[in-house]
Symmetry: D2
Subunit: 270 residues, 4 copies
């Protein structure tokens, strides 16, 4: 891992990122919410439910990077306004994906954390642009990316002056078809030995199967992840995207409790 400098563990023990009262990298975080922002009602229902269950950040997509141009592309600005409003009402910081360099500055007005999705991991213009903001960046691993490439993308952001990058393992593409992608959980301890940046796990997009989200969430806790990001929809059957992999709020509540208990057990051990 010769090329990395600013993100290297050699330079620092640990990065702690403050978002409101949260200290990401120090205390475990639970990010939850729907794939896409669909309506104020949807966001409100989901946000209250996940907050009550223990989530401390709200997610929701306003710009959706969809394989087909004919699939739902997100509500855009209208969605951001909903996200901001619901975040304020519930007291949850909010995170959304940004797809275009031109959107970065004004999207910052509405959200607390910017997300770079897997398909844009090596969109170096976008990395530089978010590197110029003062917002924490959730940087997903590209589905075809080595750890070295991923860390170099974080390096792009830090090199522009923004030290607050949260890495997110979300599964890599392999030949296996039973799962949507293959969750590379060994990336968590591997990143911990290579870098000081916090790393969270996305069990939703990696497995693509509701039944596999709970065991892989718990496994992520034990592997040393600093948090989880999980898709929750108040009515998955009617979701405009990713309907087959969203947890219902009551499923999320059960999982969140198990996650927090297990995290406490692990901390008591150490």
């Amino acid at each position: 891992m010769d090329n990395i400098k600013l993100v290297s563990r050699a330079t620092k023990e640990r990065t702690i990122i403050e978002v409101g009262e949260l200290k990401i990298g120090q205390k475990f975080i639970l990010i939850a919410g729907p794939c896409s922002i669909e309506s104020e009602e949807q966001m409100l229902k989901t946000a209250y439910a996940v907050k009550q269950a223990g989530a401390n950040i709200l997610r929701g997509g306003a710009f959706k990077p969809r394989t087909s141009p004919y699939a739902f592309q997100g509500l855009g600005l209208k969605g951001l306004k909903i996200l901001e409003k619901i975040g304020k009402e519930t007291g949850l910081p909010v995170v959304t994906e940004v797809l275009d360099t031109r959107d970065v500055s004004w999207v910052c007005e509405y959200v607390d954390i910017l997300q770079i999705g897997a398909r844009n991991m090596q969109n170096f213009s976008l990395l530089k642009e978010v590197g110029k903001t003062n917002k924490p960046v959730l940087l997903k691993r590209g589905m075809y990316s080595t750890l070295a490439e991923w860390l170099n993308c974080a390096e792009y952001i830090l090199n522009e002056g923004n030290p607050n990058v949260i890495l997110c393992e979300r599964g890599i593409r392999t030949f296996e078809t039973y799962t949507r992608n293959t969750l590379d959980l060994s990336a968590v301890p591997a990143i911990k030995e290579l870098s000081h940046l916090p790393i969270i796990v996305d069990p939703t997009h990696s497995t693509g199967k509701v039944s596999l989200i709970p065991p892989m969430s718990l496994a992520a806790v034990v592997a040393g992840a600093d948090g989880l990001i999980i898709e929750v929809h108040h009515n998955p059957a009617e979701a405009l995207s990713d309907k087959d992999q969203a947890l219902r709020p009551e499923e999320f509540a059960v999982l969140a409790q198990q996650v927090m208990n297990l995290k406490k057990y692990m901390e008591d051990l150490a």
Copy 2:
């Protein structure tokens, strides 16, 4: 998963395999030992150490499937005799890999469990041959194999009359080079929903890195694995094979304790 019949979860809730007093599939197992059987002294030292640490099955290779014909190929019969002797002295059941249909019947005289390695997962003649014995079979996933292909290989064994197959996830081959292979931990809960067979995890060959073995072992426990198989050598620097990924006995002892504690925590939850 249309093709599987005998191994399907639809036919049975759970298979429990008895090896001596062990009930694999019901109670968590820890298999430990060196990559290759090298000498009686080596096996004796390692066996006592891993037993004391909590291992309940001893592993050791007598026939080694090496990439190069010029690499150490194993001690063969001489190794099996050592393995049998040390197993008896320590009271640990023993497992070894078998590579050739001609060896199956006589190898059965020396060991308690037969292993089919990743490279032979689709060696259908060998699968049929071990299917005709009454020994439990540890069937490793091929490094290029889908869950469907793997379960079909188990189906070959059951179809010959041997119901005692233990599946072992040992990492799949991807583009990532930081780890030796990519541990597909989601295979554990996936197999649990598809099949009644027990499944264990090999954190040694999947990660190929001593530092990643402990976190991935613990993650495997939480993901629902029925056991672990871990390479331990009393002096890794002098091992004839896999020297960079073997734990020292004292490292294994610390890990085994963590694993057993975590397993107890998970059982208390349920």
Copy 3:
């Protein structure tokens, strides 16, 4: 391939794209030039050499998507001005990669064809932006993209009103390490049966080895490619990027002659 509409072979037999006097999709094209535009002298030398050898389009990168932020990032506008000037002097149309939605409109002032690189294949904002121009787009396949995903990216461009997309197979990422990527040459006839768009092959980035470029170039001709894009540098040892995979002008000249002869042989057959 359910989702594609505008790019589907079902809608049209063949797309022919006019660039100056060239008719891409009807007559075989040879795109050549350096990885990066480095200086006017470099471009002039290379451009005359490749033109004389039979190339009919000049390539050169002004914005370079480099894995590390510390690697040479390209000359930007200065490079574009050089490219435009040399293109005019030699009478060769020019193609360059564009990385940022904000650059698309003004880059169009300098070049004849816009390139979307492999890392930006699913940068949907960028696809939409180039879809709004009247410049032909060279769309490289993502290194981890299925044919279906790739065609959907072309669909994004056509859906914005730009019908002139040239697909480019440039190798996919696999476990093989001898070559830089694995050239999926079967993509050429596969795309021909799925779509009416022209498809060219990049033997440079796919193989990453000078010695493999000639055989794979010839194989691409026979597989039905509509053209080739090959890196040529007047002095590879001093290139600022990709020095190990650039052909020298005299090597390119030999290959270009073989390619044109073979193409003629194939046409005479049909």
Copy 4:
């Protein structure tokens, strides 16, 4: 490629393997025939047809390595007797796959060339066993094998005393699903620079699509392959295995003519 010795190009310019009057490695070969030997009538019809079309070796499987134990497993000895008989009647040398070390010696009585299939590429016992015979061995590349691993498998055979190994590229497993596997045609010139062994290409199993077999066969010729192995069935719709990828005899005849013409063109060039 440090480990290889006997198969290395450093030791020898080229291996030429004599089978009857054929000189494999010197003169291009066309191996054709059905996936499975089904009946004497089937073999006779197909054999005469492919011979007339220009094939010079007949293939047919008697032992079939099938994913499921419930799929047709081949006729075994009965099949071998048919293959031998038809080979003699038509004057074509015959090749068949061998799966089990116990079968090697007696299968040698019936065939001219032994095939090691992709799934058994790293079945080292089988490699050693065929290495002890005096029959040429057709060694297919494992679907997840690097060139280095593949050449080491050939090294196993040569190390036992059998110098006559023909390598066969048959596609590797990737994420792409449009084709059955991904034909890695760059392996042909790559192997040519690493080894003196002849290498042929299997366009049938790599593409898995009748429509892609002709272009990839021609591309293989141009890339430098020493031959092709193609599945042909006199009535694909009724084939007991691989019915979707077998050419009909008349399709094969057209392709064989194109292949031989193109091969002649390439030789005239050189």
